[in-house]
């Protein structure tokens, strides 16, 4: 049972996806949600409030499709092999699992495009609006932590700092590729290929680091 407030948030997400944060007009959101302008102000106080809540709303959705899981999710049906038992972590190559996870950002689904666009806008806007930075930083840390954990199994005894550095590079790269993909400068297939190359390069680097840690003499 969707209340009007949620309807407005979904509408705002769609508007941001095609006009950008700074192109968002309260009136257009109201029209998209089929409510009056005044109702938007009633629920969200002002334009800035609407923006804040929409960004959080979008962030919550991203967690849903990102960690495959709960019922009712938009099934993250990656480009990989066939389906998996629900909830089962992919057993095979941990690198493949990591790739699959990162490639979710390039699914051509409306929800994914909306989320990627909104996050791109958030990043870009944060350069000029300091109050957006904390949320951005928090989301970034979680995202890096998740990827670092997925990187762990590539080899035994890799120092955590190295995992985090590699994860930081990979997440930054995914963000950049995502922007280019959204702009239309980079087909999803090419983005995927570049990403796989980076994953391979980072994994190789980590294995070498592990060797140096294990036997510093080498």
């Amino acid at each position: 049972m969707k209340d009007r407030k949620t309807v407005i948030l979904e509408a705002a997400a769609r508007v941001i996806a095609c006009r950008g944060v700074r192109g968002l007009r309260v009136e257009e959101v109201a029209a998209e949600a089929r409510v009056s302008k005044a109702l938007v102000y009633y629920h969200f106080k002002d334009r800035a409030g609407l923006l804040r809540r929409t960004l959080r709303f979008v962030g919550d959705r991203a967690e849903r499709y990102t960690r495959g899981g709960g019922p009712g999710d938009a099934a993250p049906r990656g480009p990989g092999p066939g389906d998996l038992a629900p909830g089962a972590r992919v057993p095979g190559d941990p690198l493949r699992e990591l790739e699959r996870r990162l490639l979710l950002e390039f699914q051509d689904l409306p929800e994914v495009r909306e989320n990627s666009t909104a996050w791109g806008e958030l990043r870009a806007s944060a350069v000029f609006e300091p109050e957006l930075r904390e949320e951005l930083a928090r989301a970034g840390r979680e995202w890096v932590r998740e990827i670092a954990d997925l990187l762990g199994p590539v080899g035994p005894a890799v120092p955590d700092a190295a995992l985090v550095s590699a994860a930081e590079r990979l997440t930054v790269l995914v963000e950049g590729l995502s922007t280019r993909w959204l702009v239309g400068l980079l087909p999803a297939g090419h983005a995927a290929e570049l990403l796989r190359g980076a994953v391979a390069a980072e994994a190789e680097g980590l294995r070498r680091a592990a060797v140096r840690t294990a036997c510093p003499a080498a």
Copy 2:
């Protein structure tokens, strides 16, 4: 002898650096340049014209500090070893030269910040404004080509496609790191460290690719 037109362009670059492309107000540019609003319209026709010319102006400046060169330049005094004879290409390790080149984007100079900010805005805006894409694509291709050429010397007989892929990843990474740096989420030192790690990982990957090309049996 700066004419008013140039003064206005410089003012516009500063305004973009602290308000963003989409936060730019013609009136603020006029005030920053200490001229009347009408004069801005006289020289640039309308807001869009001002934006176009400012972006080109900023792009030209970037080439100046990026390829070290002509007289009167802001000397690109990197964090590396001491000065070099003017015009001399660094002779030593080609990887160091590449790193130096990429690290120029993190110099804490007003001009560099302004340029990075403006390009970040251009990228972000292009998601919603298709007419910006061509210039973005052209600049991107040149930048990738330059980095690919710098990557060439890491090993003999590396296929060009591999160089281009690595260069694409590195440029995307630099853009992403630059954004985080501008936002204040990432100190320049940490950005430099991550970048060095990526350069090392990519170089190692290229060397392995070269080996596979040379003796496919391996």
